[in-house]
Symmetry: C2
Subunit: 216 residues, 2 copies
Amino acid sequence: MALIRSVFQDELDGVSQSLVDLSNMVAESIAKATKSILTSDLKLAEDVIASDDAIDDFQHDLDARIIDIIARQQPVASDLRALVTALRMSADLERMGDMSHHVAKITRLRHPNSAIPSELTHIFQDMGTAAEKIARKTGSVIGSRDTDVALEVERDDDEMDSLHRELIGSLIAPQWAHGVETAIDLTLLGRYYERYADHAVSVSRRVYFLVTGKFA
Amino acid sequence: MALIRSVFQDELDGVSQSLVDLSNMVAESIAKATKSILTSDLKLAEDVIASDDAIDDFQHDLDARIIDIIARQQPVASDLRALVTALRMSADLERMGDMSHHVAKITRLRHPNSAIPSELTHIFQDMGTAAEKIARKTGSVIGSRDTDVALEVERDDDEMDSLHRELIGSLIAPQWAHGVETAIDLTLLGRYYERYADHAVSVSRRVYFLVTGKFA
């Protein structure tokens, strides 16, 4: 019995490690997507678009593994909750990868032009940095179950929201001179970064709830 | 044993019925949200915003019930897959409710003005009709497991995508005369309807896969 329990514990640890790996994959994808859009780098954009398939496959395999563990180990109570939560976290992380993909597709759509007027590059630079940071931190929360870091993720998301408001403010300012098509691109880009961070917050909150039994 | 199996079957049917109910709740919420934005009806918008809490609570209770069934019945193979899939479907449906909520928040933000210029109301009228239809049909797919209707949902989503392209075309046309702020609102609204339909497609595909073992 002790041996079986230990195999199960190894399996749970393996799931947790895969979620950390997935967090790092989507952290890398948003960093590359941001660089692609800031430098109009088509090759990098194509890289991000291709790597989204790898992220989807990774998530698909992880989910199959989690369901297989539930079927074989028939966990109850907190172990079952942890595995169901892992399925939800993998869905959030996969969706973060989709957001990187969407950013890269705008790079490709506008190439060789830039989707982002030069005076707004600093906002997207900061959004990209915030997004990568929040994803790496989310991975660390999953690995360590450190609830203090989970709360930090909430604050990082506030930073993203503030950048998002700054962006919208620039678009609707009277001196906006780049037309509607660019405004549409930037509205969508802003939404992708905001959603990316929201999903990371969702993952962190799930960990927080698993550890404390309370909502953050 | 036959009795236990039958209780379990009743529980699975109950989950399925709750997913149908949730589909109808989000069908109603997008219908109301659309009416609120087309008529700048603040009271209706507030109704939609309040009903999103009811949708979230309903989903929360349903998910707790599903996890409880897994813990007690310890299903394997196809029954376990159906229950895990039910969790994913409830997440998609809940997210559709969020999209209605987002639409209603734009009604409220712009009230007593209208977010939508009069010459574009027909597009949102059609998007709202398509969204409600796709949600009702999704409910019917969950209830009946009819794979033909699941494939119809894919075609309804093509209709939504076509409306979305028409919308973006209007925004970037040279004769656009409503400024950037309105274009931002309409870009976001278009995205909400498109995502709403995407989540419905996702639910239908999950049913299709459960029934046929193949991807639609």
